[in-house]
Subunit: 228 residues, 2 copies
Amino acid sequence: MATSTVENYIKRIFMDQPTGTGLMPLGRLAKIMNVVPGTATTMVKTLSESGLARYRPREGVRLTPAGEKLALHVLRRHRLIELFLVRVLGVDWSEVHPEAEELEHAISDKLLARIDELLGKPAFDPHGDPIPSAAGKLSRSRVQPLIACNAGARMRIARITDQDSRFLRYANSHGLVPGAKLHLKDRDAQGDSILVQVNGRKPLNLGSSAGAKIMVEPHAKARTKRAT
Amino acid sequence: MATSTVENYIKRIFMDQPTGTGLMPLGRLAKIMNVVPGTATTMVKTLSESGLARYRPREGVRLTPAGEKLALHVLRRHRLIELFLVRVLGVDWSEVHPEAEELEHAISDKLLARIDELLGKPAFDPHGDPIPSAAGKLSRSRVQPLIACNAGARMRIARITDQDSRFLRYANSHGLVPGAKLHLKDRDAQGDSILVQVNGRKPLNLGSSAGAKIMVEPHAKARTKRAT
DNA sequence: GTTTGTATTTTGAATACTCAAAATGAAAAT
DNA sequence: ATTTTCATTTTGAGTATTCAAAATACAAAC
């Protein structure tokens, strides 16, 4: 059985490496995990020995198929729990992340299945992130960061990538929530900012770092069943 | 912050020692915790150093007020979670214990408060055990084991003390659930068995070990001698 | 091609928990 | 009073995780 520490390492390696080809350098992993570099090295060796990752010294890590399977399992637990907390317990979506971070390691598969059913086998969590299926399939849609869009684009918010609750609260208060329709009215390359209009609201200026955290997708297209 | 291991030790010490005066011998604690005796000794020293217990070498342990406070807090989490799983998620009450055993260490106070409200600040868990209040008060009622009752007694089941799910399932299937009315029709000291009738059902024979696990309480205002 | 700089790895040590087995204390049996 | 027995404690060691700081490798700059 993987400890919750191992589960966390595996999860973060997976999340920070959507492009399957590259290795993740250990310095980066150490930053993500808030440990000193040496700790990351030690841990990655252990992961490697237990067959969850492949490790090239001085280059980086990559998950093995077994590692990816575990990562998807943890991610499923995390996102299903988040949605459960929002929908059943009425917790605000901006506060749900740290809670799920703990519970994801404590919940049994049996209980998770019950929650899944109760929620109607949902496909997305409250942040708009896709929930891996029980079989371990993750639907990847074509989303992009808001800053990557052209002026004039009309999109829909798919999710907010930042898990920091301050930013989530800010986003929330301006209507920047998954599902919201959004019109990119203008871009200012020099001023490093973009002007957006959310639903019918007052236009809002966002810096590029904020714009990078907001993932959008074309909203004309037919969509799969939505969470929330 | 107490680790979940510490929380478990404290909880079990508390539960196995309702009579405040006696010390719990470490051999007993070791059995309860499924560790070798030496481990219990080491752990109890640690608890003692952190002010949660008082330890007399060769005699035993007792919780300090701080330890009792923690124990009640853990117990509250455990029992509230059990009730939540039964009521909101429809998990069978006989299967709820091991689940809560894990979740009780992962849930935040904030989330617990939400659950408490959702359930209407309940006083008893699905096994009939009282749920400590947020302030740490535990209502102790006058309950006693079924085998301690006289023939002819009419009682109500308060709770089942055994947490083993096989026994719980057995009890369930015979209507032996908290709240059920019960008539002790006969006792057979030689045969070591008692004959009970649950609600209107067929009379049922129980051995003394089963009878010891079923806690009952006076059903009307009739006063029997109290057990605490 | 040597120096400098930065990322990574190694080493040594700490904390929390556990076990196996030897040592000890105290009560029970003789 | 001495021996036997049993519970408890001590000792030594192992796993999982972490840090601080020294050692090393490699790329970039000179």
